[in-house]
Symmetry: C2
Subunit: 381 residues, 2 copies
């Protein structure tokens, strides 16, 4: 059995890469326009990201905003989503006292700019207030508009932030809404159904929300201790204490909040899907390379692209597993996951075709799973 | 370099296994009691599973109840959750006309018992009504209690079904509720905030719900065409047309509904987590086997168990990749995913320890990813 060698590289994003700038999806879950128009904003906008949650509901020891997938903590994805937006000036992250060091470390490790950290208060409103006050103390002076978002909603997009910021500047307040997923019902004190709300008349209030600095600052100055203790809705404070009826804008489903442990798997699946799927074939000088590329293209389908490239590295043609391992180690430094697949170059067409299908199957799996643990392996097709 | 061979098997649940009865988690997401008390019910209970949805919101072509993960369609997991409950007699699945054949095929392929299929109506209420009517026509006569559930909520548990069924039998109607995740707000017709609801007074109405047969049957006989066209809440019909105030019972977070494409990844992660993680080492006759098993045990941690087993198959010791592949093909027939890992048996302690760590790393990855595409590969540690 003779063998020809094909090397398949899976690019972009593995578990143990310290920082891979620029790979964050520009749109998530495939339900947005392909290339959104980039509009700019001519007034200062900054962000408060409350991240003081203890993550009780995820069933995890680490608060969910600090849980990692694909080598990056959730909160870093969220920060990145804001940093990508050129017209956003500063981002103040509010974390519990005991997480100040961890947060500072994340900012350094993932090279976040624009970000400041302040300690949180005992409730959500107290934490957001601390963030708003910190923004006012900045050397650039207070921003015109403050966007408030949750650290655990990583898939916020520039176009939607634009809508919120401009509506907030015009109306004083603006917030994202979504249709209700369940019927909302009122219960009697004994735990029986009292009545159900007519679903069409109500909406779920989501994040992000935007406020002019003056509205949100005044709202927090005027509101009661009871609001600070038990309230959760900033739009309500703006209405009650500043008579500002927020503009409500329907957001995309991607605004959803990572709440439970299972949501981390969902978030990972979205990031994986939006990473580029491309395979680069470095074929040995054999006629079958083109046929193989064609078969791979078919097998990967919409998932990816296949490039056929002449190799300029002679070592690629080495058949020793140890050589593949060395190549993989070198590739890893350049943020490339490198796996070898040994293709059986059989005489019979049937065997060859089966082998090509196997290459495609293994390639799909490698690209989908992106396992750093299997890097440098020489797999058999 | 000498090499010793260790074979690691990943058991339970891969993508292309046609049916693996009995592996469904008894509790999901790790927030339930370890061994719930099994209580029985002395009146007939049957189930209606509306599954007529078109799955528009998932961003998938296949309706979400028919989407598969780990080799099984979502709806089959849900059916299985009910079949496991001894006191549930029949399950009527209501599907759109065009999915009758697909559903019948799923029932056969996954060997579901207790299940009947009826064609759905043009709306949710019409579909549920069809299911309720079909239960009344059964040869065993109508059940005392009907449980209505969604096909896309696969993680319903026996203990909660017990609570719903007994409350329904006592009160005429009962339903699952959950705390509201977002603030619910009323909007003005111009799209501005009118007021926000006090979150503590309201709940989200979820599934399952239970009704005595008479209550749900009468509710559907008496309700209006407008209810059939626009309504979604069965508890509301029971209240309005039978003056039955449903008992509301707080359900676990695992009752959540697979709505978006990302939720399929979340559901898969829950099923994977509850599958058993066990590695079975079949060591070559070398002194290091015990040390290796110990290192593996440490590396897998709480995730799994490691068995050390003397091999009774001489071929396991073969070093040829082709032999591993043959063994894997044979193992696959017995629902075992078989991978080979070649361990470097170096003289220097440091090299040996690195190699053992690598075995553990690869093993974790193989067990977690459960890739059928990599079965039979001989990996290097």
């Amino acid at each position: 059995m003779e063998a020809s060698r094909q090397n398949v590289e899976g690019r972009d994003g593995e578990r143990d890469r310290p920082a891979h700038p620029g790979t964050f999806p520009t749109s998530a879950a495939g339900d947005s326009a392909p290339e959104p128009a980039r509009r700019s904003i001519d007034f200062p906008v900054s962000v408060v990201l409350p991240a003081g949650g203890t993550g009780e509901r995820t069933g995890l020891q680490t608060p969910k905003q600090f849980c990692s997938f694909l080598g990056r903590p959730l909160i870093s994805y969220t920060i990145q989503a804001f940093e990508r937006v050129s017209w956003i000036q500063r981002i103040v992250v509010v974390v519990a006292e005991e997480h100040l060091d961890l947060m500072t470390d994340i900012i350094q490790r993932f090279r976040h700019r624009k970000v400041g950290v302040v300690p949180g208060g005992s409730t959500r409103h107290r934490s957001i207030r601390n963030g708003v006050v910190a923004l006012g103390d900045g050397e650039d002076g207070k921003p015109k508009v403050v966007i408030i978002h949750d650290a655990v909603r990583p898939f916020v997009e520039e176009d939607f932030l634009y809508e919120i910021a401009t509506a907030a500047e015009e109306q004083g307040a603006a917030g994202a809404i979504r249709p209700l997923v369940s019927t909302v019902i009122a219960t009697t004190s004994e735990g029986y159904l009292d009545h159900s709300l007519e679903r069409a008349k109500y909406r779920a209030s989501e994040m992000p929300q935007g406020f002019t600095y003056d509205v949100i600052y005044r709202a927090y100055q005027r509101c009661s201790e009871s609001d600070f203790d038990f309230g959760t809705e900033c739009l309500h404070l703006a209405l009650q204490y500043c008579s500002t009826n927020a503009k409500l804008i329907q957001g995309p489903p991607t605004l959803w909040k990572v709440t439970y442990k299972r949501d981390l798997a969902a978030a990972e699946s979205i990031v994986k899907e939006t990473l580029s799927w491309s395979a680069c074939l470095i074929p040995a000088p054999s006629g079958e390379a083109v046929a193989l590329a064609e078969a791979l293209r078919k097998a990967l389908g919409a998932l990816g692209t296949v490039h056929l490239r002449a190799s300029d590295e002679p070592s690629v043609r080495a058949v020793e597993p140890a050589a593949i391992m060395d190549l993989a180690s070198a590739a890893k430094l350049r943020n490339i996951l490198f796996y070898g697949i040994q293709l059986c170059r059989a005489k019979e067409t049937e065997r060859w075709e089966r082998s090509v299908l196997k290459v495609a199957e293994i390639t799909s799996t490698l690209i989908r799973d992106r396992s750093p643990a299997l890097v440098g392996q020489l797999l058999q097709a």
